[in-house]
Symmetry: C2
Subunit: 334 residues, 2 copies
DNA sequence: GTGAAAGCGCTAACAA
DNA sequence: TTGTTAGCGCTTTCAC
């Protein structure tokens, strides 16, 4: 029956029978291993095509690699993260590795959950994007699976990392606002900025505080959970007479929420964001923001992983320099 | 040595030894299978905690399920797709299944590649989002792995599907433009709309043509590859004196690109999009668009998959009704 | 250059 | 109620 061949997934055994060789021979051809005659390679290849053979990754995983790279991503709503994915895909193009993404659900320990799910599936390497995870947990993971930490400041010997220079980016944003004449500048951030000293948001918060202190200005910190809430928080603030002429938001999604609230309230408060998501430079938005090269950073994370997989042992910690992009959302106060 | 226990991933065997029981007993506890005494369950659970045991998914895959659902996604730059993911995550919450996402690289057959990668990794079910794939290939895949097709119009007995009613959505958009007084309406779409009769874009194109014909108006179809190119195409069109007073874009990313070009050219051409991405209702954008309930649709796709995994056999094809959202990007001509 | 066979960690049928 | 055991498909020595 033609059916019989369709019914069950072909195994290496089926291919061996079809080609009239041993399973080991097929495996060798598959892995391009040493010691196969051209004649055999040809017959085996033909048999693989004929049987429509595809190796089962799980069986391979039992003996070694899966040719899979996993990325844990905290939030698809933030396009900065999806740019990272674009970069990662680019860098993986042409390699035998497949990218799989595990989204972290909302919640405190969910980043770890997603990383563990990846490790349980025996990915050959993991990229963890800004996971709110204790360093020792990452060390534990990295001791089994090559890991690149993205965006945070834990630099460990166990894993590589890619991050932006948030102090510098924040300083650039603040300098810009000061130069325009603002002194009453609020910082809109997420609650986690307080609890996680190594997170980018925490660094941005501290850099903001430093800048304000240096300027002899009083800090105004607004904390809100995520994008939509940023809107709510700003509405309240705007209605209640926000004692600020400018807002520095910890990331663009927050900034967009703020912009929305401000626009609706008819307020002319200036806003600066962070990341430079694609929509930021749309004429209708014109968000002044701190550009981070997300695509390049994502690609670099993958490169570091591939280097590890190729045998590098020492840890590498790369820092990318952000760059202020001035647009229409900032102007002199008043 | 404390090291010894840390060095190697604990297996079911290790747990069995620690608990002083057989491997089968551990496996039973793990699977919550019939015939385990409370005492045994307790000892085994304790041993699992002590050894920090985590089942290896690959080994499970060799015997059956992986508790993994895979989604193939064509483009992270389009936030409509990421809303689908949000819905899928919601629906999977509380189930034992883990979501993994395989991004399709740009290119013709890349959607299939990503789906195959998922199948090779033995996901228990796949959701394929708008893959430009021949129906017979999907049937082949569905014959091995439960599949839900998202967004396209191939309805097969082999798999379930979730789609929006694109004819209706398009009609709503066109009616709106006609009602405002537009007759010279251009359609901005992607080249694939011509080659793939079952894709949403193809349906929208035909519905546009039908509406124009019914109104006795000449059709103007602009084709452009993706978002940024939409911008370029519109710039050209605007500079060259676009013979249209309104544009119906096949999806919001195209519409945003058009809006950008139009704004820069100082043109007041109206624009309607499709999908209602989150940024569309931002005051700075105000994009009139056809809302599709992405989150609900993503959740439904997962539900259908879970039903299949639970044993349903007949195919289900769900169609969601889109809804026009009127904003500031459309107004009377002139 | 080629093949036989062990074994990766787990599940499930069967035996005790 | 608990334990024994046979594989799942693949890679990888080690003989031939």
């Amino acid at each position: 029956m033609a059916d019989a061949s369709t019914r069950r997934h072909a195994t290496i055994q089926d291919v061996a029978v079809t080609a009239g060789v041993s399973r080991a021979a097929v495996s060798k051809v598959l892995r391009d291993a040493y010691g196969v005659s051209d004649a055999m390679r040809e017959r085996v290849t033909a048999a693989m095509t004929e049987r429509d053979y595809r190796p089962r990754i799980a069986a391979r995983a039992m003996r070694g690699r899966t040719f899979t790279i996993g990325i844990e991503i905290p939030d698809f709503g933030n396009s900065f993260f999806t740019r990272i994915l674009d970069g990662a895909m680019d860098a993986l193009d042409g390699t035998p590795y497949q990218l799989v993404i595990a989204p972290a659900a909302h919640g405190t320990r969910m980043g770890l959950r997603a990383i563990d799910a990846l490790v349980d599936r025996q990915v050959d390497g993991v990229i963890a994007v800004s996971p709110p995870v204790e360093p020792w947990e990452l060390d534990r993971i990295a001791s089994r699976t090559p890991l690149v930490m993205f965006g945070r400041y834990d630099t460990s010997d166990e894993y590589d990392s890619v991050a932006g220079d948030d102090s510098r980016g924040t300083a650039a944003a603040m300098d810009h606002l000061f130069a325009l004449g603002h002194t009453r500048i609020a910082h809109l951030t997420i609650p986690a900025a307080d609890h996680e000293p190594r997170s980018p948001h925490s660094v941005r918060l501290r850099a903001y505080q430093t800048a304000m202190a240096a300027a002899g200005a009083d800090e105004i910190v607004l904390r809100t959970d995520e994008a939509q809430d940023a809107y709510g928080a700003m509405r309240e603030a705007a209605d209640g007479g926000l004692p600020a002429t400018a807002i520095f938001a910890a990331h663009d999604e927050l900034a967009l929420g703020a912009l929305r609230a401000l626009a609706e309230a008819g307020s002319s408060v200036s806003v600066v964001g962070y990341d430079d998501v694609p929509i930021a430079d749309h004429p209708g938005i014109g968000l002044t923001t701190v550009h981070q090269p997300g695509v390049a950073m994502g690609a670099r994370a993958v490169e570091l992983l591939l280097e590890r997989l190729a045998g590098r042992t020492g840890a590498v910690h790369d820092v990318f320099t952000p760059e202020l992009r001035v647009r229409t959302s900032t102007r002199p106060p008043g």
